[in-house]
Amino acid sequence: MHDVVNVAANFINLDAVNLIYLFLVGFVGGLVSGFIGSGGAFVLTPGMMSLGVPGLVAVASNMCHKFPKALVGAIKRAKYGQVDVKLGIVLGVSAEAGVLYGAHIQESIKKAFGDAGSNLYVSVAFVVILAVVGGFVLRDAWKTYKSGNAHEEEKVTKLAKWVQSINIPGTMVYFKSLNAKVSVLFTIPLGFATGMLAATIAVGGFIGVPSMIYVLGAPSLMASATELVIAFVMGVGGSFKYALHGLVDIRLAMIILAGSLFGIQLGAIGTTYVKPFMIKVVMGVIMVIVLFSRGLMVPVYLSQLGLITKLSDTTVKALKSTSFAIMIFALALGAFIVLRAMWQGRRAERELAAKQVLEHGKI
C-alpha cells in the first residue's frame, strides 16, 4: 500500500482495445447502477486486473469512478423525486466507518493468512451474503409477481413496521422515504454493514438496498436511488484515502466514467418506466448469479491454503475463467432486463398516449 514510488510504474499502457473494453464495461455497470443503486464494481475490479492492473490500483480506480457516477445518478433520480438525501447521508456516514473497519479486517486477514486467505474470506462473504440476501430478494420479487399485485403499492414488512414503532428518545429522525421516524440506532448498524460489505466485495448496495426496503420500510425505487447517495459518500472518502497513497489511476477511472455516465443516465430513466418489483428482480438475479461465480473460486483458494488437495493449474485456470465469465453474464443479464423492461414501459406509454389521442378525436 505504501510503495507510492512504484505505483506510477505499475500503471498500465492503454491501447485502443483497452479503452473500448473499459468504456463498454463501464457503460453496462453504469446502466445497472442507475437502476438498482449499485453493481458493476464486482466486474470492473477483476476486469481491470485482467488487463494487468495491480489489485489495489484497480480497487482505488474503481472507487474513484464510482463516486462521480453515483453523484450524477443521484442527481438524476432526485429529479424524479426518488432520493431521500437525509437517509442517504445518515447511512453513508456510518457506511464510511464500516468501510474503514472492513478494510482493517481485510488487512489483518491478509497479514495472518496471506493473499489466498484474504481471497477466501472475500469469496465466502460473497457466497454467504448473496445466498441469504439475494435469495430473499428474489423470492420476494417472485412472490409479488405470482400474486399479481405487481401494480399495487409495496407493502411495508413486519420487521420494518416494528423498527418504525420503536421510539428511543433523542435518537429519532424523520425520513421522507419511510414517512416515519426511525431511531438512528437502527440506521447506524445498517450503514456500517453496507460499508463493511463495500470494503469486502466492493458492492455495498447488496446490503444497503435490501436493508432499506425490508428493515427500514423504504419503497424499492427510493431505496435504490438513495443507495446512490450512500455510494457517493462512501466513494469520496474511500477514493481520497487511496489517493493519499497515490493509488488512483485517473485515466482508468475517467475512461470507465465515460461509459458509466451514459449508462447511469439510462438506468435512472429506466426506473421511471418499470414496476417497483423489477428493482428486486434485477438485484436478486445479479446477486444469485454472482454467488455462483464466486462459489467456483472457493476451491481454488482452499487448495492454495492447503486445506484441500492441490488443484492442477489447468483446473485453476478453468475455474477462474468460468468465474469471470459468469460475472460478466450476471451484469449483462441485469442490463438486458433493465433495457427490456424500459423498452416495454416506453411502448406501453406510447400506446396509452395514442389511445388518449384517439379517444379525444384529436388525430
Binding site: P68, L71, Y80, S239, H245, M254, A258, I269
Partner: protein, 83 residues
C-alpha cells in the same frame, strides 16, 4: 418522448457545448498520460488532484450524457403508473 401532443425543444446547443468540452477533457487526459500518472500518484496533498478531476469530469460529461439521451428522445416516463 416529448409531452403528449406538444413538442419540447431539445437541448442541441447544450449537447454540442458539453460534448466539445468533454472531448477536450478526455483528449487532454489521454494525450498527457505520463504527466497525469506522475502528478496524480504522488499521494499526500496531491490526492486532491484525482478527486477534483473526478468532480470536473462528472459535471461536464454528466451533463453531456444527460443531454445525449434527451436529444435521442429517451426521457423519463411522464406518468408513474403506465400499466
Amino acid at each position: 418522448m416529448a409531452q403528449y401532443g406538444s413538442k419540447k425543444k431539445k437541448p442541441y446547443g447544450m449537447l454540442i457545448i458539453t460534448g466539445i468540452i468533454s472531448i477536450a477533457l478526455y483528449t487532454i487526459l489521454l494525450s498527457n498520460q505520463s504527466f497525469f500518472n506522475d502528478y496524480f500518484s504522488r499521494g499526500g496533498l496531491y490526492a486532491f488532484l484525482p478527486i477534483g478531476t473526478a468532480f470536473i469530469f462528472s459535471f461536464v460529461h454528466g451533463s453531456f450524457t444527460g443531454n445525449f439521451w434527451t436529444v435521442l428522445g429517451i426521457e423519463a416516463a411522464k406518468k408513474k403508473e403506465v400499466k
